[in-house]
């Protein structure tokens, strides 16, 4: 199991295949949802786009350890990334960069009036597991 993001994972953060996010409440109930964008910051950090998620945000504040799944659209490799919440940004360079990406994704999906970035949720990568490698279960 890895604990750093690698170059071959970068296409998975381009927004072609929507990522999935699973959090757990303080009383142990899982919550799973699609998110619009997971942003690569560096080999140890990612940022999630926070738009709607009320239950997810409540869970993250109760339990900062959660799981993100991303798929590479080129190799069809699926990774499960365990992360921990670090901080939230509502302005600045990272927020603006993600806001532009969200606007582009919304435009492609015809949902310009629906998608609005509230914050960039910065997370530290704890561990990475390859579930599907080159289209085959690993």
């Amino acid at each position: 199991m890895m604990n750093k993001l690698t170059q071959d994972m970068l296409p998975a953060f381009q927004g072609v295949i929507p990522p999935t996010l699973a959090t757990v409440s303080d009383d142990g109930i899982p919550n799973v949802t699609y998110i619009s964008h997971v942003h690569y910051i560096d080999e140890e950090h990612i940022a999630l786009s926070r738009q709607f998620f009320s239950k997810t945000w409540k869970n993250i504040n109760e339990n900062p350890h959660f799981t993100v799944a991303v798929t590479c659209p080129e190799t069809f490799t699926l990774w499960k990334i365990n992360v921990s919440y670090q901080e939230e940004e509502k302005e600045g360079g990272l927020f603006e960069e993600m806001d532009m990406i969200i606007t582009a994704i919304a435009s492609m999906q015809g949902m310009e009036d629906t998608f609005k970035l509230q914050s960039a949720v910065i997370c530290k990568v704890e561990s990475i597991q390859t579930l599907v490698l080159n289209g085959k279960i690993n």
Binding site: V16, A22, I29, P30, L131, V132, I137
Partner: protein, 156 residues
Amino acid sequence: MVLSNRIKQITSRSDLLFWVASVGKNKICELTRVSGFIVEDDNEHITFFLPKQLFGIIEPTLAVKSKISFLMASIQNFESYQIKGTYKSHQLCKEEYIDFYRLKVLKITDILSGMGMNGNGIFGYLLEQPSIAVTMQCTDVYEQTPKPGTGGKLID
């Protein structure tokens, strides 16, 4: 709880992708894709199907009444629902169920191919065998279609 007609009708659709999440003893989620699902005749349980190797990801977290959550989402219009409930049982998937979800997965790969993507490359693994049928008791359904105010309990 009794699943609504809206959820029952969804089983006939062929544009949906599925995930399941469970929770380990360390309170960290396990998460994997699922190949398909059915609503049981009592309308209180669903059974979902996934390759045995993917089931191995969540299996260590499952005990009777373990909390699990099941996500379904349309790849065409992003309509999505989450069913929350408890694990009940699992068994090797019967051939009739494999035939049922195989058609759905193939339809999804066709839709993606129509979008210019390699559908079989992305989701062909969902047809790997053997596969497992997992039955869960449903306690709540939430609408999660991306829109302001989403996330509420489904009541119809």
